[in-house]
Symmetry: C2
Subunit: 331 residues, 2 copies
């Protein structure tokens, strides 16, 4: 293997992301220096947060630089090492981006055990999405048994874990997802108490019917009218973990009309970025890893084939075309 | 005095409140029974929260009943007592409503000392509005010295106290108010660092200019575009005390467009009702009372004359016609 492929950000989107915003490049495999490792990525993780990084705006992280490899979580294997902490053949997860091969100094690379947990799960239920679910649930919503918990994007990599963890804690869990197929999966496979199809035309009525005792906790991934439908049913002292607002990432206005619920119901709403709470990852990933290894936490993946499929798969993710965790298989 | 006047809620408003929603009645002064006191109200407090109580909707408190005396804070004097805790001549504050005379069982009535603090101040800076400011500041925003604090309705009974307390804690304080006269007062008399006239036509630019280092804390009384203009400038980990949304109380839609700041800046937004935190009132009122008695906390009142002026004064309050604490003088 002398050359490999990678994808860089070619231009910033004007509104909706297009495949033209990306550029596939072929480059030579570099030599590594002392302390470095060379990784062959097996899976690339596609996640909604990447959309925000494509914009050149003030946010929680620096924008993705133009003409550089797109940011992204990866899982792969060490194929050469001049770092005593890593050996050839080690399975590793990191943030090596949209690239078949990458060099790392090992500082952000983690060796993982694939004996009981599949490599790809370290990008989903036992990785950043799972930790995102765990953090919002345990640190912000903190539901008690008997509470009603609402989760938007319920069939997704994050939402599916939120709901299952809440069920294990004795909550009534109401999901919101797009389409009958996803809703059926959320109820029948993931075990949520109810799931509302936001495309069904009766969002507000359906949320009310699915949460007859009101809603105590909301894990918000979507924003806009989906969020408004839950705000309208929040109970006093409810907690809202603000994780994502995917409905507005392409610049479509998504005003919130029911903000008055924050006042009248004395709600607490908090935004968070799970990478700012690394001190909790060992605890959270410990719980998630055990649940996945024992088959108690169910997850689903949509896998695109080959690096060149990544831009189209990413566009699909932003439109909800994925079903569960969106990955790109590179090898 | 055989008869007195009172005002009841005659009908619920359809959109904008009208004076027709109220009815003035003349009734006989009642005899009091054992345990009761008869109070002659001197001042009636008018507050934005009353607008929400006029609606028959699920909220933090039961709606104001039709054909009953309008809810409201009062300050007055005991004119007859069959309760050993109260003597004729005692100055008292309570929630006796829009009425010249009222009977109380004493349970919600508090004797106050008017030696160093004027009676009317117990309805403002040393009463519920002052406590509202103190609670939101100390329990939700918790600013550090050097933080920038934004306050909407800055010249009002609550906002004026928020800003002065924040200045005493070493913060840069930016007010938002309606009109040049109020803004001049907020800066020149109350000592805020800056005040933006939301009617000035450059709200977003003006907020940005007044808060060059961004905004760490927001005390929100208004909602709508005023809130959006501050959300756009919030710093990471900012705190928002949601106290009121007066711009939407008459049913005018007031969507929030910048909710994404809660996510990108990892903000915490919390709604509160100060009457649910009575355990903190002694501490808060202690601080506020000392500051008013020593002249360090400045407040301003707009006083309507006579009970029959209350409905028109209340309508004015909802349109921002008052300047500082809106009271009705009954005697």
């Amino acid at each position: 293997m002398n050359n490999f492929q990678r994808i860089v950000l070619a231009s910033r989107p004007k509104g909706v992301v297009s495949t033209d915003n990306f550029r596939l490049e072929t480059v030579a495999v570099p030599e590594i220096s002392d302390g470095q490792v060379l990784v062959r990525n097996h899976y690339l993780s596609l996640d909604p947060y990447m959309r925000m990084r494509m914009e050149d705006v003030k946010s929680y992280a620096a924008p993705q630089a133009l003409d550089e490899v797109m940011i992204g979580g990866t899982a792969g294997e060490v194929i050469a090492s001049k770092n005593p902490k890593f050996s050839v053949g080690d399975k590793v997860v990191g943030m090596l981006g949209w690239s078949e091969v990458a060099v790392s100094d090992g500082s952000m690379l983690k060796t993982v055990d694939t004996t009981h947990i599949p490599l790809s799960a370290y990008l989903g239920a036992v990785g950043m999405p799972g930790m995102t679910a765990w953090y919002g649930l345990t640190q912000i919503m903190a539901p008690k048994a008997g509470d009603t918990v609402a989760v938007s994007a319920a069939s997704g990599a994050v939402g599916s874990v939120v709901g299952q963890l809440a069920r294990m804690r004795g909550c009534r869990v109401v999901g919101i997802a797009g389409g009958k197929e996803k809703c059926d999966y959320v109820v029948n496979t993931l075990g949520f108490d109810a799931c509302i199809d936001y495309k069904g035309g009766n969002l507000f009525k359906d949320v009310k019917a699915a949460a007859p005792n009101g809603i105590d906790c909301l894990f918000e991934n979507v924003g806009g009218v989906v969020m408004d439908s839950v705000l309208a049913r929040m109970n006093p002292y409810g907690r809202i973990a603000m994780c994502g607002l995917i409905s507005g990432y392409d610049g479509v206005p998504m005003p919130i009309h029911n903000i008055h619920a924050v006042l009248s119901m004395r709600l607490t709403m908090r935004g968070f970025i799970v990478s700012e709470h690394m001190e909790l990852w060992p605890e959270g990933l410990g719980e998630l890893g055990q649940l996945v290894a024992s088959g108690k936490l169910i997850f689903r993946e949509t896998i695109a084939d080959g690096l060149s499929a990544a831009p189209e798969a990413f566009l699909g993710l932003l439109r909800g075309k994925n079903f569960g965790k969106q990955l790109v298989k590179l090898i």
